[in-house]
């Protein structure tokens, strides 16, 4: 859908003290704006700013919000890729704004920033995360054991058994994977990669005893079989989780019933 573009001529901010020796460049941020209190239509809006190319896209968004337009709205917290608040579509690819440096995304051209896809946009870059977290909750994302008498000390687990599910413990629930998945875009009922990753984390934990139940949940018609292995999720994951591989392992476990 073609949308009108607003122009903002003024450039933001002075160089930060302490970065005096840094080569500041002028970049254009082209941001997808939506505010139902203002208009029913989303529009692209351009902002020009001076920025050190070693800074993060999040720093650029902050410069805009703090110095140019306070109405620009996005979620963020830790600013170093741990909290999962600021997944967004940057130059057409899902990334965390705080883990993406300006220099790595071709600042010669306008940098496009949009909300992640497949979830309802609430304002600017903020989307409704509820369906995403509902899918997560639906896979029973917690350790289930049938211990009748709890051990007094820790359960034992070999380093190899611990390693078996290490990759999927890294998930920060940012939704970069799920919202990069074409199946999820077309059908919001699909559990999506993140929920499957979090089911994997327990199915392959040697201490857990509810693997069968979780597999049955994912055997549903909105479950793992919808995955078309396009690898978008693996490319999108800011934590480097091999998401598609985890989904394949869950599929295999459903066939072999061994995990």
């Amino acid at each position: 859908m073609a949308t009108p573009t607003l122009e903002k001529a003024d450039a933001a901010g002075q160089p930060e003290p302490g970065f005096a020796d840094s080569p500041y460049i002028t970049v254009t941020f082209r941001i997808r704006r939506f505010n139902s209190e203002v208009s029913a239509e989303a529009v692209w809006e351009d902002f020009q700013l001076e920025i050190d190319p070693k800074e993060r896209v999040l720093d650029g968004l902050h410069k805009i919000k703090w110095d140019l337009d306070g109405t620009l709205t996005f979620r963020r917290s830790c600013a170093h890729g741990i909290c999962g608040s600021d997944a967004m579509r940057i130059n057409g690819k899902n990334r965390l704004a705080c883990k993406t440096l300006i220099k790595d995304i071709n600042p010669e051209k306008p940098i496009t920033v949009e909300p992640i896809k497949g979830l309802t946009v609430l304002k600017d870059l903020v989307v409704d995360m509820e369906p995403f977290f509902q899918a997560y909750r639906d896979v029973m994302p917690f350790l289930i054991t049938k211990d009748t008498n709890e051990p007094t000390r820790e359960r034992l687990q070999t380093a190899e058994d611990r390693e078996r599910f290490d990759d999927t413990t890294k998930c920060i629930l940012c939704a970069a994977c799920t919202s990069s998945c074409p199946v999820f875009w077309n059908d919001g009922q699909y559990f999506g990669p993140a929920a499957i990753v979090n089911a994997h984390r327990f199915i392959f934990d040697s201490r857990d005893e509810a693997g069968e139940q979780r597999l049955e949940i994912l055997n549903d018609r909105d479950g793992v079989w919808r995955c078309r292995t396009t690898f978008n999720c693996t490319d999108a994951c800011p934590r480097g989780i091999e998401v598609t591989k985890a989904i394949q392992e869950v599929k295999r476990a459903l066939i072999t019933r061994r995990f």
Partner: protein, 584 residues
């Protein structure tokens, strides 16, 4: 305006809040109000581990851990609280394992442990392996595990609800907690939560510094809400500067890097910590290491063209060890600095990290309105609180421990209280203050910008009340903060809307930071000694005769409406240990 009624309300959904919620939900009807989605909380950024004398890999016991905590806190620690912390540490770790936390394991399958700053065998003989960990993602695993168990227990969350006011009603001359007032980010609607018990677990306030490991959202909202209602804040002058933040950015690089064998070096390649801490070396307590780094920099041995940082050297460690034990921080170095830690040292500088002070509580998490009086129905736990287990300087791995031990205790105590107590009547027009504050900001036409004032605040705090302080620098900060508070009255925002108005909330958060920065600076000015994280160049020694006591800061409002801070003091609880000179 909507009114809700719950037995127990928890403010904040980081480690302390969720650990409390797991207990409280089992016992009482509980609501958790959180300004972030729970898994966004900054507990997730903690890296290195959680201390507990499990003795899985070498001899250890809770008494050694208690001693290290008291010594680490430069004897300002309340020793009864420290003993509880160290004793209950063991079950806290085992509880988390049973909840599913994927700890690293030893070859025989037990929880693995590693060294950390200030943790020693037999009262300082040598470093001990006490930190239970999951690679360098221990906080992430704790946050995820607690959230998973909240899902399991069916904890009721109100996500993106900002608590802006604490309601207090006087009943028969006793001030009691009546509930809280919250602002819903999605709609701009004001909600009053009437509750028999309220637990604050809203985290720290490090964002008043510029170079900090803290998230943008750590703005001291809980501390500010109770302080404005006349309750005291304890030991706010004690702030921890973590030795190894990424140069200029402040992003945390875990002490676990030194626990795994990493070494700090100056521009000559010298392992300078050998001079300052001959026994513990790079694993001395954080205040000692941060001062040593700045001493090196001041004496001209800093690295880089401006000589303004030192190196964290991991190059002698095998790449497999870095990949297995320190995967995230090595990734940070690659992402943000373009440095390969296998082959190159990482430029670091101390970064504002942790508030030792906060809302005073007893060991059950009950909030105090003076040195001894409990506010019925009001609780606090975690970084927002001051029990005080950290005293003048917190040991690494003791904060993940604190949130679990005292989060659990506060959750149980609050829920048990709300089972036997009645609701306290809400004050008349309970949301009045919040509505007027929010409406004033929405309609303000002043010329000051939030971002400008915040930047100036952060710069003055970095320049004047960081690792080294003097009467003159602190006074400069006090004056600057007073000026900024005046200018804040003339602040305006651009977003006048109701939906997701983060512009408005940043203005509210700045107000909180300004209040807390003032308390911190005024408390620091009055403490004419050096202890733990508070180092006064004009008073370089610890003064146990005059200052072996906690600071209690109260907001006072005069008849003419002028605000001021009154300082009082509270004795330190001493049980087993007499103060000694602190050497590492």
């Amino acid at each position: 305006m909507k009114i809700h009624k719950y037995d127990t309300v928890i403010v904040g959904a980081g480690g302390a809040g969720m650990r409390a919620a797991i207990e409280s939900t089992k016992r009482s009807r509980t609501a958790v109000l959180t300004k972030l989605y729970p898994t966004r909380s900054h507990t997730g950024a903690a890296q290195g581990g959680m201390a507990a004398a499990l003795a899985n890999v070498e001899e250890d016991n809770w008494e050694w851990h208690t001693f290290d905590t008291v010594k680490g806190g430069d004897y300002l620690v309340d020793q009864d609280a420290a003993e509880i912390l160290a004793k209950e540490a063991i079950d806290s770790v085992l509880d988390l394992e049973k909840m599913g936390l994927p700890f690293n394991r030893t070859p025989n399958g037990t929880i693995d442990q590693r060294r950390f700053g200030g943790h020693s065998r037999n009262h300082g003989e040598a470093p001990v392996r006490r930190s239970c960990y999951a690679a360098d993602r221990t906080g992430h695993m704790i946050l995820q595990t607690l959230y998973q168990n909240c899902v399991k227990e069916g904890v009721e969350f109100f996500n993106e609800f900002y608590v802006l006011d604490q309601l207090i009603t006087e009943v028969d001359g006793v001030k009691k907690s009546a509930g809280v007032v919250a602002y819903e980010l999605a709609t701009g609607e004001i909600h009053v939560f009437q509750a028999k018990a309220v637990i604050y677990a809203s985290g720290g306030c490090g964002k008043f510094f510029k170079v900090t490991s803290n998230a943008h959202t750590l703005t001291g909202d809980g501390q500010a809400a109770v302080y404005r209602r006349g309750l005291p804040l304890e030991d706010m002058e004690f702030f921890q500067f973590h030795p190894t933040g990424i140069w200029r950015m402040g992003i945390l690089l875990t002490e676990g890097a030194r626990g795994e064998g990493g070494i700090l070096r100056n521009k000559d390649g010298e392992r300078f910590m050998e001079k300052y801490a001959p026994v513990m070396k790079d694993l001395a307590s954080r205040d000692v290491v941060s001062r040593s780094i700045y001493t090196e920099i001041r004496e001209g041995r800093g690295c880089g063209p401006e000589g303004d940082h030192v190196y964290l050297d991991l190059t002698h460690l095998p790449p497999e060890q870095l990949d297995a034990k320190l995967p995230d921080i090595t990734e940070f170095a690659r992402t943000y600095l373009g440095i390969e830690p296998y082959t190159d040292p990482i430029p670091i500088q101390p970064t504002a990290h942790y508030a030792m002070g906060g809302i005073p509580t007893n060991v059950e998490g009950e909030v105090l309105s003076d040195n001894t009086t409990v506010v019925p129905g009001l609780y606090a736990a975690g970084e927002v609180a001051c029990v005080s287990v950290h005293g003048a300087n917190r040991l690494g791995t003791n904060s993940l421990l604190d949130i679990n031990v005292f989060g659990r205790r506060a959750g149980i105590a609050a829920a048990e209280y709300s089972q036997k107590a009645d609701f306290v009547e809400l004050p008349e027009n309970p949301a009045e203050l919040v509505i007027s504050q929010v409406e004033a900001l929405r309609s303000a036409t002043g010329t000051e910008r939030v971002a400008v004032l915040r930047r100036e605040l952060q710069e003055t705090m970095d320049a004047n009340v960081m690792v080294f302080r003097t009467e003159q620098t602190i006074k400069t900060a006090v004056e600057k903060i007073a000026e900024l508070r005046e200018r804040y009255k003339n602040v305006s925002i651009q977003d006048k809307g109701r939906r997701f108005n983060t512009d408005l909330l940043e203005a509210v958060e700045l107000g909180n930071l300004l209040d807390l920065a003032e308390v911190m600076a005024v408390s620091a000015l009055a403490r004419k000694e050096s202890r733990g994280g508070h180092y006064r160049e004009d008073y370089p020694n610890r003064d146990d005769v005059n200052f072996m006591r906690h600071t209690m800061a109260y907001r006072e409002v005069g008849d003419d409406g002028t605000e001021s801070i009154r300082l009082d003091y509270k004795p330190v609880v001493q049980t087993r240990y007499q103060p000694m000179e602190r050497k590492y």
